[in-house]
Symmetry: D2
Subunit: 344 residues, 4 copies
């Protein structure tokens, strides 16, 4: 951490800052420029995080130069972590993994049909919500446990794994009983109590980026999970909130190489929420593959116009299978691309 | 709700949409323009919210024209709701209410000193966090119940009420035991399970706007509380996340008259988080008064440079009291201003 | 400027950075921490602005610690600059100045009527656009010189000054002939050629904040004007683009005290564009007064529903005069408020 | 266009709106729901764009349902426009075209070396700025005509075309003399006078998306060019401004399929500005290919650490050539992908 003094800060003011730093058991490196004095903190600056240096007289600004997350960082764990979901491997140089299914589980028949389509298209994991976070209290909130029973049954029938959202600590044991991956939704990225709770399970956690989550906050959210002992985190880029309203969100694909640079955990993409318009989903899924994602999660529905939620961003059977055929071509090409990348 | 068909949509496509609408027991008003056909839905369109019309062939767009919140709306309850916090009245034509205190409760002595300052400056309610939502799991997370005991004691000693944050359903009974107002933090504005839980209590709820919460989402979040039976909601504008980094958040004061137009519940402002820099807090507090807010919540600390969190946006005793003297002048002037407003 | 080396950067990498700094005639202060080495640059770091230190191996980040604007900075010119517009003084402890008028000049009669209303309400300056920047090429683009003639005539008839927008260098001499203040619109905040051109005139410049302009960019935009010799800049906060669509823009009132802290030039507010909805204009104008602005610019129209542009955010005569009466009360109170502020 | 009346609007209020519509020579379709009355406008609603219906009593909202751009729309011109830059074809099913070069032209030798690298890597067009829009007036502003002479010479020496930025109308004839494509920078996307000026030339125009430009504004900006007669527009996605600071901008790749859906003009991507960090450029360029872009513009430099601007996002020779080899693999695969896309 660096403390930047104001132009014209007095010696006394500089001393007060230094005193505080030393009181915390750290050393300083003083850099007295013509324009400004800069105080560099030497030692484990994590304990200085909460010191409000900006409230000291004469202080202009502070700059944090080390990250606050550690266990999630690439520095801490240089090689890629591969998250093994009961045999389906996500991350590293493993295959591109597709998770497909409806937004909401609407009934036994619907999820069974989704499982068939997902499987035939090449997905390994079945998605579907039983507990749905909805903006309005009057919108459909999900089938609850009934939905969990159906999705488990459907996944098992077609040899798929299950991913579904857990919204609160109270329902965690219930959801964990039926699912292979616990999804933390965008609205809960900084629901720290929930993060700690899933961190205490041994179920893989798919951590969606918050609606306006920064890369730094997202990595720190993962740290909440990992610091409780759960070493199986999967980042999910699902678009962020910006001024642009032509798409549901702004799909930030640069998060893929950036997270890979900063963390050892895998990252997958969610083009359905990323754009929110079904005919943009397929090109964005392809872009996700090319950006280097380890997989994707995509919304499909036997009949999107009858979906109870997110119908406008869901692919029907024909479109989904066509997209998967495209992705197949691209993932093969990416193997050659990665060889070239490795040459540098 | 309105469904807008694409230029060149076929009769058949129009019919399919109409069929769906009628199947849900509603009527349509058809408007066939030269350029586009528009289908207006007539009846209680709330049940149409989840119908994915955009996934129908030939549909260009849909427009929601009624709000999804009802109990929180001004239309439902035309007169101002005054939230009575054990005698301290917030909203309507009542006095401008100040809630002051530290970001975190750091100990018995600190919160007692804060209570003294708050009271002397004219605040009616003491704020202070015992459970702190922190970006990093390694940052100070609050004193927990110990903190709750201290703040209750301090408030009682100085004849103040207490506002403190509840972060999860599990700790709700504990927090509710000590506080007069339950604060829902910005990160939890769409923690729907928590909203429902506080909605089942009879404790007033201060609902902070989400970090990137829209006005519409915020009103719907209130609806989650109110629809469970709790009729005492206070909106808190605390700044939103934008591209601007010169301030901690962008303090959206237009939310004050806008919420007052759309809802009957009171709205107060949080200039400390709104700007995040102590020397901008005072002018923004004044601006909040002038915008018509029913009160404010502000961070103070006996010695900001020693605060465990948010020190850079906290006011010391002298600055706080000076600000309160300014606010006193302004709130008096606002009485005359409101008389002029009423003339129109 | 500070260059922060990566954890584990080699001595050689550090040397390369230092060499470059020294080659530019500057000195360094080296701070070798356990975790990271930090290189502080000593001297006039302005020339280092374009050095891409981040492209050097081993460099993690760079931090700019001095502003790039100088002549516009409060540091350079500690006392308030009062911009004198032919006798109407804006800034410092002068009166709160109102500029009122229509979005577009629509004809001789309309602007004459606006001038009457503006004057009677207490405005000192008449606004009105003759050249209009419009999103669509098919929208009304303004009356051009005809409009300039009308607004000048109307202002003179009522003893008002004129403010109007200049959109390009080619029309600058024409616009300058008729106006007392040159307005640079939000879309042109970084039209550097235009900024330089108005900087060469001796006409006061009202510089609107860009649609997504940062405080830093805005101050640098002013520097473009001032560095050409024109010392009369007025900042205009008019709202910024955010994710929120309930208002036209997000009105960032914190810009008022922030600009006052960083620059000596006055800042006024534009509540009409800030919110874009007429019934929010009045409370936001009051908030602007309380935040400490030196004035405001507001859209009025004899009959808003017949306005050719911006009708939905324009005030009619009755509402405008009512607002001005409110503002009158508040500006008086602010004199007392400022006395209290001065006590600290 | 649709006008939505408030719940409880009177018959008289509805009549006033209808009168206005009819006065403009249009018809209405009235839809009287239980909750709200909706007035659909029938005819060429473009003339209604400026009518401030929201300022009419009883009006809740208006919804625009037709776009304001026409000549740029896919509806107007269903097939892809291929922009032919003196033999280099951009758009439709043509090859993926790369434009490479330095941010700034720094001298004859530097741009000559860049041209060699660009050509060897497979680029067809040489980029380089002679007039640079810089945030600070004290930063390097470009070599001006000297730079234009050098880039033309370098491009000709290696059989490349030239793209360079034009910042103002005054320099347009000069820039047009040397370049094959006129670049409109992000800050000038809504410099309408400049758009009209380049629209009067017959030189292809590369129109960068504004720093916070919406898709709709961007298409309207193109309309400014096209409506003046210039039918050769190339959209350039270069990232937008959001709250995220981990990257220079947020690279919005969904703009690629979205613009292709709404317009017939080609769109290319600028991964260098999109992310601003050199090691993310290559994966984002690949993602651009997969998203279906017609080409890209990328910053290269013989020695990025010595670049006068944008060094941190420039690729050196080795990295650029490695990226181009990857892109080569991907563009080949995309031919097969497009065949599969065409099957649906």
């Amino acid at each position: 951490m660096i403390v930047i003094m104001k132009h014209g800060a007095t010696k006394e003011q500089v001393e007060k800052v230094i005193d505080r730093v030393k009181k915390e058991g750290m050393d300083v490196h003083l850099s007295e420029g013509k324009e400004q004095t800069i105080i560099g903190l030497v030692g484990d600056t994590k304990k200085m995080l909460d010191v409000p240096f900006k409230s000291y007289d004469g202080v202009e600004n502070t700059v944090r130069i080390t990250s606050t997350y550690k266990l999630s960082s690439r520095e801490f764990h240089p090689s890629d972590t591969v998250v093994d979901v009961d045999g389906v491997k996500i991350g590293g140089n493993e295959e591109f993994v597709t998770m497909a299914g409806p937004c909401s589980i609407e009934g036994r028949e619907q999820i069974m049909e989704c499982a068939r389509i997902a499987k035939e298209g090449g997905a390994k994991i079945l998605r579907g919500g039983a507990f749905k976070p909805r903006t309005s209290p009057y919108a459909f909130q999900g089938l609850g446990e009934e939905g969990l029973i159906y999705i488990r049954e459907a996944a098992d029938a077609y040899g798929l794994k299950v991913i579904t959202e857990v919204m609160d600590e109270a329902n965690l044991p219930l959801v964990a009983k039926y699912t292979d991956i616990l999804q933390i939704g965008a609205r809960n990225m900084q629901n720290f109590k929930l993060l700690q709770a899933v961190g205490k399970t041994n179920v893989p956690v798919a951590l969606k980026r918050g609606i306006s989550g920064t890369i730094d906050e997202w990595l720190n959210a993962a740290e909440y999970v990992v610091s409780e002992g759960n070493q199986r985190v999967i980042f999910v880029e699902r678009g962020i909130r910006t001024y642009e309203t032509a798409t549901r969100n702004t799909f930030d694909l640069s998060a893929v190489p950036l997270i890979q640079k900063l963390s050892h955990f895998p990252i997958i993409v969610d083009p359905s929420h990323g754009v929110g318009i079904w005919d943009l989903v397929s090109p964005m899924a392809l872009a996700g593959v090319a950006a280097g994602a380890s997989g994707m999660i995509v919304e499909i529905h036997p009949e999107p116009s009858k979906a109870w939620s997110d119908g406008q961003q869901s692919l029907n059977e024909k479109r989904y299978k066509n997209m998967m055929a495209q992705i197949d071509v691209l993932t093969k090409a990416m193997k050659d691309v990665k060889k070239i990348q490795a040459e540098i």
